[in-house]
């Protein structure tokens, strides 16, 4: 979902993966999931880059 001059919200699918706790050595299988991702629009991004903190 794109909002002009603001950004885009996108649903991304993450594959399952194996994670390990380095301290305990315990391994876990994290299931696949859907995440919400936000990407800033180029217009706004430029404004930030040029102006620094507005």
């Amino acid at each position: 979902m794109t909002v002009q001059n603001f950004g885009t919200f996108e649903v991304k699918k993450k594959m399952e993966r194996i994670m390990m706790n380095p301290t305990t050595g315990q391994r876990m299988l994290v299931p696949p999931k859907l995440t919400l991702n936000f990407k800033i629009s180029p217009t706004w991004k430029d404004q930030l880059k040029n102006g620094g903190t507005e």
Partner: protein, 160 residues
């Protein structure tokens, strides 16, 4: 991927909240402007049921120009991050909500396994894994090519 516009968003608002179409559209447009303003002013904007937008300061760093290979400096700048809140995360992940993280027993190895059954239920919305090929695929033998009447390697001298 669908591209949803502010108008469509506003239409949903109308259905859900009883706002008039014009009000809903104005609200949807202004809401994002407010987020931008809030970020300029406070560096962080939290919307309940949606998530948190934050302004992150990125320090200058040295890098290399990809085209010339010259060393260059990427100036310090701001970056906007968004983290969905718990409600939103659940809503987005709904088709996969039945999955759980499981602890693996020692010695279990999932790398490269495609036909192992996993300890999860696969229901409707899950994309089906491609089935491992069980039945042998029939490959048609190409018809034996008849030998050409002429010699494949020309005996004639190569053309000048």
């Amino acid at each position: 991927m669908e591209r949803i516009s502010i108008q469509e968003l506003a239409a949903v608002l109308v259905t859900k909240s009883g706002l008039k179409k014009k009000e809903a559209e104005r609200f949807a447009t202004v809401m994002f402007d407010v987020v931008k303003e809030g970020l300029s002013a406070d560096r962080q904007v939290k919307i309940k049921g949606l998530g948190t937008f934050k302004v992150i300061d990125i320090d200058s760093r040295e890098s290399v120009d990809v085209n010339t290979g010259e060393r260059m400096v990427i100036e310090g700048h701001d970056k906007i991050t968004f983290t969905p809140d718990a409600t939103m995360k659940e809503l987005v992940n709904k088709p996969f909500s039945q999955f759980e993280t499981v602890v693996l027993a020692d010695g279990v190895d999932f790398t490269g396994d495609e036909d192992e059954e996993l300890e999860v239920d696969i229901e409707n919305d899950m994309e089906p894994e491609p089935e491992p090929v069980g039945a042998p695929v029939l490959i048609e033998e190409p018809e034996p090519v008849e030998e050409p009447a002429e010699e494949p390697a020309p005996r004639n001298p190569p053309r000048a």
